[in-house]
């Protein structure tokens, strides 16, 4: 090579180097912009609305949509990052993308025409090619072993520019995603914290107000009811959480409130164990469970109906039969009593509660069949006793031998006396309570001992009524009935009650006082005697201790 040629070569080299630098800068800027566009297209496509059923992969969750910002947003963000970087790489540097033909030609004479275009596939590849593929396909004949260095420089500059542009675009994408992640994470944390705070608020409010839920049919304590959407889908955990803080969207697209304050109590609630409907107010006011126990035919059902009847007459409290089941059975019982008959015997089995709203209380009355108490093996599985907040022990006075001995046949026939020994019934009851509660000391609950059939008691000659000459004062009347029981030879019952229960109250009632409490004369003469209001035992139980 001569000096002149070398000089020209050097000049060409310098010129091409300058041109290459310009091309490098242009290629870098172009690839950066192309990368941003690719990133934006990929992100817009990824975040476009699409069916999301498949995202609800948690089989144990309720049939509701997940709250996007309570977790899936961050998972989506991670996937978006992968998609975005892949899109940028694919658009700028990838050598293996572009659809049908990914390989570079190995023989230019075979695939390329002199202007550098493929004679078959290149026109179709243009829009999907990465920039680098475009460079290598379009300019690859410059990159051969005999290509002079000055001619190689522009291609090299463009290639390096693409790499620089890719790095810049990647840095921009990374910074953008990082900023978005910080904001999204803050929002997700805020949503999660808000959910937990309202979950605690809801749970704490129920606990503070003493509201616990138990099923009146299967007698199981419930953590929370199963709420049923109007579409029929059951939501077992309708609380603030990952499926919504204040509301959740059921699969039927209906919005359900997760908080009682937002109207959750208006939804249909069911027991999670047996599926029985729960009263509408189950989570709104404290619930009290009052088993009414006694021997067969002692008058438990009649007492319960009369007591509820009296409660319904109370003008000071809002009273309502809290569910359809109670209303139907109560109407049947009232029909029997008003017709002068007796309510049918309670069927043997675990009693289904009569649920009554009485002012700020929701009362569950359990009218247990007398046979249950007379058969310990039945009583042992009577879980309703475990729920009891107070007990009503029904004593039929005509089951007491001393009373029975004084009554004539007509009175006994009309009174339909129970044959169950009150002491035997009490022993089974105490044993069952001890098994369920495991208490070795006195059971911390009130027991109202109710002597029924007081109207018939007034027809027994030579039998003093405990309230004769007594004022209508609770403690005096309680003492009088207790002493009366002792006089009839049942000190054992009185002592057992005193030993096993924290408080015991004694009452005498008759079903004739359902409408109003009236005084009645004794068959032996003397002043008329007014029995206790049939609702008095219930009120006394509600007034004490836990109740």
């Amino acid at each position: 090579m001569g000096v002149v040629e070398a000089l020209f070569y050097m000049i060409a080299l310098v010129i091409m180097a300058v041109v290459s630098l310009v091309l490098l800068a242009g290629a870098a800027v172009y690839s950066l912009l192309t990368g941003i566009v690719a990133f934006w297209r990929a992100a817009a496509g990824f975040l476009a609305p699409r069916p999301a059923e498949h995202l609800n992969s948690d089989e144990s969750a309720d049939p509701a949509d997940f709250e996007y910002l309570a977790g899936p947003a961050l998972r989506d963000h991670w996937r978006l990052a992968g998609t975005s970087f892949a899109a940028v790489y694919r658009r700028i540097l990838s050598l293996s993308d572009g659809g049908s033909n990914n390989s570079l030609p190995d023989d230019k004479s075979n695939n390329l025409v002199p202007d550098g275009r493929s004679n078959n596939s290149l026109p179709d590849r243009g829009s999907n090619d990465s920039l680098l593929v475009w460079l290598l396909w379009r300019k690859h004949w410059w990159v051969t072993s005999d290509t002079p260095l000055p001619r190689l420089l522009p291609s090299a500059g463009i290639g390096v520019g693409f790499v620089v542009g890719f790095l810049a675009a990647s840095a921009l994408v990374a910074a953008t995603l990082a900023v978005q992640f910080v904001v999204l994470a803050a929002i997700a944390a805020g949503v999660s914290l808000t959910s937990r705070a309202f979950w605690l608020l809801e749970t704490g409010a129920l606990a503070l107000r003493g509201i616990a839920i138990a099923c009146g049919r299967c007698h199981q304590r419930l953590i929370r009811p199963v709420f049923v959407c109007p579409c029929g889908r059951a939501h077992r955990n309708l609380m603030p959480g990952k499926q919504g803080t204040f509301h959740r969207t059921c699969r039927c697209a209906r919005r359900l409130p997760t908080l009682l304050i937002l109207g959750k109590h208006r939804l249909t609630a069911r027991c999670g164990h047996c599926g029985a409907p729960l009263p509408r107010l189950a989570q709104s006011i404290p619930t009290y469970h009052l088993p009414i126990v006694g021997g067969f035919a002692a008058g438990k059902s009649v007492f319960m109906h009369t007591a509820i009847e009296r409660l319904c007459h109370d003008p000071r409290h809002a009273v309502e039969l809290a569910d359809e089941h109670t209303a139907r059975r109560f109407a049947q019982g009232r029909e029997h009593l008003q017709g002068g008959g007796f309510v049918p015997h309670t069927p043997l089995g675990q009693p289904v509660a009569y649920t009554v709203r009485f002012g700020p209380h929701l009362l569950h009355f359990y009218d247990a069949a007398g046979e249950i108490l007379e058969r310990p093996r039945h009583m042992a599985v009577s879980s309703f006793v475990e729920l009891s907040d107070g007990l009503v022990l029904i004593v039929d006075p005509f089951a007491l031998p001393a009373v029975r001995a004084r009554a004539d046949a007509t009175t006994l026939c009309e009174a339909r006396p129970s044959v169950a020994d009150p002491k035997a019934v009490l022993d089974v009851l105490v044993q069952t309570l001890r098994e369920h509660r495991g208490a070795s000391t006195a059971l911390a609950m009130r027991v109202a001992v109710v002597i029924t059939k007081a109207d018939a008691l007034l027809t027994v000659p030579n039998l003093r009524h405990p309230y004769v000459g007594l004022p209508a004062e609770v403690s005096a009347r309680t003492a009088a009935v207790r002493d009366w029981l002792i006089d009839q030879g049942h000190r054992d019952v009185v002592n057992s009650l005193q030993n096993h229960f924290s408080e015991v109250g004694y009452f005498i009632v008759t079903y004739l006082d359902g409408a109003s409490v009236t005084s009645r004369p004794h068959v032996d003469g003397g002043p008329a005697v007014a029995n206790d209001d049939p609702s008095a035992p219930v009120r006394w139980l509600l007034a004490g201790g836990r109740i």
Partner: protein, 35 residues
């Protein structure tokens, strides 16, 4: 469509635009401060 996801993704897209604007602004300001 899951409405929560739909709304959430719209918010994510908005955040993405804002994030990109923030990054571009900061980048431009940083580059401009060099000169």
């Amino acid at each position: 469509l899951n409405r929560s996801f739909d709304r959430g993704r719209k918010l994510a897209r908005l955040l993405l635009i804002l994030s990109m604007l923030v990054v571009l602004t900061v980048t431009i300001l940083a580059v401009a401060s060099l000169f």
